[in-house]
Symmetry: C2
Subunit: 469 residues, 2 copies
């Protein structure tokens, strides 16, 4: 099974059925996507009349393609999709991305019927289908942009894979990744899930060396148990950050119509997702924020957070969010507190959150970080700073990195700045394993995700250890 | 009283006591701030030895300054601050921004004593003091950057005034304004509030023609009643978006220490703020998000929201947030629903949230907007779109604007895009009174703020009308 997914995500050659030279057509955007990402294998546009599309030799049909084809991208009208898939089957193509919409998601019962026909053809040909009714998928590492969104070609390679029932939410996450320089592995829009659903993909992603952390966005499932089983298998090995849309009665109706599946009661879903070891979040930005830290930092399970801040107000906001997320502000040991009182002047708050406003020399700063991280009552440290001519995140990189490595505890930086001033420094910090976020709430929610996953590991691995003892 | 604030915020001349040519000194940054914003009046740096600072003629003391001075910025050590203020009094200066820290906020009781001395000198000289222990203040319209943060000189003029107990949070808001192109009027860091507190400023801002909406960030007040009274006076005339930090027991201690005031019980504070007509928010980004819409859009009090989306998933997220914010998804009248069913194909959700994925021609789009806004069950409309080669916010500007003007109802756009692609179009939409936000949650929270302020107006004005009848 993994082999068929491998061919789907790492095809040696791709055909675009419905390729077009008209920039207003999806089939044109799909061609641009492949060109802009620089897909390394041959691309075969299929067009009934044109001899070439975007300067690439076109074929009137799949039979005319000289070589083997691993992946077909279908951007034809719904009425032609079944025939196109039949052609794929005849050509021996075993992977398809069906962008075409008008299947199970539409009001008209014709849609449901068409999707069943599609599933039957796929079954006969052993064809894995992403979609229908999807924006497509991207595998950054394979330089494959099999989507109608050319700008995804600019994504940085990384170890976070996005699997989403919603194309819109895939875009929210991937656009955020573009803006924030977060690398992604694969971005997969499941659409109507003709024969590839979460439960099918998770076992493949569990073994995928290019996926270290998974973002999962769902609206609803007709039969959710296979998903929960697959999650339970994967979460002790790889973290899954999950979000369920359609939380309220009024949203449920919309979710049901959208991809033609029952949205179900959200509380039950979320409880089951958590039970299966997923880290459940509530807002789309949190998906990437939590996945980023999980892809970078070894989780620790302790909930005791220390906060250092160069500005008191944001230190209080961080403290508020620590409480809101059900984490704990660490109580320093009396030894740590005594040492801090020696290092820091009596002009400032020296308990947690520690106000660093008056400790602007580097030695005092590093000693404070060292003392806090050495305290066994502290599980993680968050440092807040504002960009200012006197202070940028790069300035604290070396001391923070030294003390983080010494202690092995997670350190996060919340660095707020106008755009265009600290991006390079942030990139360097993150390359060193120190995640950086812009706002207090986002920082603490990311940390809460890390801690919750640490608790999943402790629970599941602890359980496994007990069983083998 | 307003006259003394006017001179403080619109000084004809400024002196910087503690000006410095050394870029590592705050007194240098303050000089840069004035230069970069292009303060139009004379600037007099005070320096004991230097003949000039940043190429501007310096004076050894205030007495040597030839002309009158309206505003003094003090960036001297705490031990010298009282003497410097005495000098101001002798020179007849009646406005001061005291950036110097080390007063009431410090652990040492010397600080409290110093602040009392400062208040006494100020009282004798009739000097209004912003601070001490503040980053300063900015009046964008007067081209006055009296702060240690030169980058604030880039702020766009606007009608939102920020008054904050926390310099850090002032920066969070102003940096966000810089990034998102939101104009600000004044940014005022109250610091330790020696003799200028919220309650003193609000009556001035109520009459300030350059302030249409106020952002108020507080940690705590020793005596909050004057603030609540002042709020009650201003909120029927101008909206105030308020946030209170230190919400949890663990945060309270930090807030108390910070600016030397009691943080108090947050639930009580928030209830009292709401009672006084403020729109209370929970996260720093919401301050500007809500203020932006309040400075642009006439509030309506109805809670019935319609959502149109080109992507179903984000439409569901918007619906979730509508429910979470205690708003209502509008139920279309049967006439509207019938008309929508004629305009939109049966391929899509035509109830609220309306899925526009298959209605990509402009006439059908505008007709849908018209039908929804004409429905008396609809109080406001939110439209979601993702940037794509086929769709940018600019493309829907004209139809949305026409129908918005026809109906008079608020229309918000949630447009998500990688950076650098839609900023110009967003600016044009906002210039036309259509606020644009990037994420579903932020969009609906902004709308909720608008609606809550509409309810304040209905309550207070309704009350006033009843009394005069």
């Amino acid at each position: 099974m993994n082999e068929s997914f491998r061919r789907l995500f790492y095809p040696r050659s791709v055909t675009v059925v419905g390729a077009s030279g008209n920039p207003l057509k999806m089939g044109h955007q799909c061609m641009l996507s492949l060109r802009e990402i620089g897909f390394p294998g041959p691309v075969y546009p299929i067009h009934p009349q044109e001899r070439e599309v975007l300067g690439i030799r076109a074929f009137p049909n799949l039979d005319q393609i000289p070589g083997e084809v691993d992946l077909a991208i279908l951007v034809v009208p719904a009425s032609e999709a079944i025939l196109a898939l039949e052609d794929c089957r005849r050509k021996g193509i075993q992977g398809a991305v069906v962008i075409t919409a008008g299947f199970r998601e539409i009001e008209d019962s014709k849609g449901e019927k068409l999707q069943k026909e599609m599933a039957a053809v796929a079954a006969r040909g052993g064809i894995r289908i992403i979609g229908p009714n999807t924006f497509g998928m991207v595998n950054v590492h394979a330089r494959l942009n099999a989507s109608f969104t050319p700008i995804f070609s600019r994504l940085k390679p990384g170890s976070i894979t996005v699997v989403s029932q919603s194309g819109g939410v895939s875009h929210l996450v991937a656009y955020q990744a573009l803006d924030e320089g977060v690398g992604l592995g694969k971005v997969i829009g499941l659409g109507n899930r003709c024969n590839v659903d979460f439960a099918d993909l998770l076992p493949y992603l569990a073994d995928d060396p290019e996926t270290r952390c998974i973002i999962l966005f769902m609206e609803g499932q007709d039969e959710p148990r296979p998903l929960f089983r697959a999650l339970k298998e994967i979460t002790p090995r790889k973290p899954v950050v999950a979000m369920k849309a359609g939380k309220y009665a009024v949203s449920l109706k919309a979710a049901q119509s959208h991809t033609g599946s029952l949205a179900g009661r959200s509380e039950i879903y979320e409880a089951a997702l958590r039970q299966a070891g997923a880290v459940v979040v509530q807002e789309p930005q949190e998906l990437l924020d939590v996945a980023k830290i999980l892809s970078m930092v070894t989780p620790s399970a302790g909930r005791n957070v220390a906060v250092m801040s160069f500005q008191a107000g944001p230190g209080i906001l961080l403290t508020d969010e620590v409480a809101r997320q059900g984490l704990t502000m660490a109580a320093f040991s009396s030894k740590t507190q005594g040492d801090l009182n020696r290092v820091l002047p009596p002009l400032t708050i020296r308990t947690n959150p520690v106000d660093m406003a008056f400790a602007r020399n580097e030695e005092a700063f590093e000693e404070t970080v060292r003392l806090i991280l050495s305290d066994e009552n502290v599980d993680a440290l968050v440092i807040f700073l504002l960009h200012h001519p006197f202070m940028t995140p790069g300035r604290i990189k070396s001391p923070v990195l030294r003390q983080k490595q010494r202690s092995g505890k997670p350190v996060l930086i919340c660095a707020n700045s106008p755009r265009g001033l600290i991006e390079k420094e942030v990139e360097e910090l993150e390359a060193s394993g120190i995640p950086v976020y812009s706002f207090p709430d986002r920082t603490i929610r990311a940390l809460a995700g890390l801690i919750r996953y640490g608790e999943v590991l402790r629970r599941t691995r602890g359980g496994a250890e007990r069983m083998t003892r």
